[in-house]
């Protein structure tokens, strides 16, 4: 790793802001978040590294940028259990379960067993009706829209948790139990014959 540099990657903290703004105007943009899921996995599987986390993750950078600009992070170390294997892999499993439920919901809409539910679910508890999609072309299949709602909710909820732990502890506390971080580290460790 070289000493700090300003390059294209260093502006990626803008990405989460752009992402949530685009999704707010048209929920279909939620699909763009798949980059944040696929890229880290591809780097880990093919390259055996965490290049995404280490150089490209807009969310991680955003937490750092917010902290440096507004000084709202306490800077205190987070409780040890956040970086414990049980919590990290437990949270990963929880997240995968939530993602699977989005896929199942999407399938139900695809197969016609369920109707499209137009709301954003925040922190898996609060439903916020959300159909600001004035510009939604009518030929878009309902299941594509359903996945957008589910995925946008997941991205928003995890960002909210990330912001809370950023404020309570250190800027990138979310990274200790971020499902993508845990999953890609596990892939790298397995690939490079390191104990999990």
């Amino acid at each position: 790793m070289s000493v700090k540099k300003n390059n294209f990657f260093s502006y990626l903290w803008l990405w989460p802001i752009i992402y949530f703004a685009l999704g707010f105007f048209n929920i279909l943009f939620a699909w763009l978040g798949m980059f944040d899921v696929m890229l880290p996995i591809l780097f880990a599987l093919i390259g055996g590294n965490k290049f995404f986390c280490n150089h490209m993750c807009g969310r991680g950078m955003l937490f750092t940028v917010i902290t440096k600009k507004f000084k709202i992070s306490s800077g205190k170390p987070a409780p040890k259990f956040f970086s414990s294997k049980y919590f990290r892999y437990g949270f990963l499993i929880f997240f995968m379960a939530m993602f699977t439920s989005i896929l199942i919901q999407t399938y139900f809409v695809y197969s016609g067993t369920a109707n499209l539910k137009e709301f954003i679910k925040i922190l898996w508890a609060f439903n916020i009706p959300f159909s600001l999609n004035l510009s939604m072309p009518s030929q878009i299949p309902a299941w594509i829209i359903q996945f957008s709602y589910g995925f946008y909710s997941l991205m928003l909820s995890s960002t909210i948790i990330g912001l809370i732990v950023m404020a309570l502890y250190r800027p990138r506390t979310w990274c200790t139990f971020c499902p993508m971080g845990s999953m890609t580290q596990a892939i790298c460790k397995i690939k490079n014959h390191q104990p999990l």
């Binding site: 590294n49 965490k50 986390c53 970086s83």
Partner: protein, 69 residues
């Protein structure tokens, strides 16, 4: 003259997020194959920035003299 202390990462706790590597003014930290941070003690000047940013709080300081002798 090298600093008395240098940073070292506990690789059992490290989550390989890379926050320390971004912070290090000397570029002494590398994330080894996505697994954990490896700090080059010959480059480290013991400034402590990495320790302050590490979300997993897994960086400790070792004394060069007692470690090496």
């Amino acid at each position: 003259m090298p600093s008395k202390f240098y940073a070292s990462c506990n690789k059992n706790i490290c989550v390989s997020c890379g926050a320390c590597a971004v912070e290090c003014p000397r570029g002494a930290i590398e994330i080894w194959k996505g697994c954990y941070a490896v700090i080059d003690k010959n480059i480290c000047v013991g400034c402590g920035l990495c320790k302050r940013i590490c979300p997993a709080n897994c960086i400790e300081f070792l004394n060069r003299e007692t470690e090496e002798n």
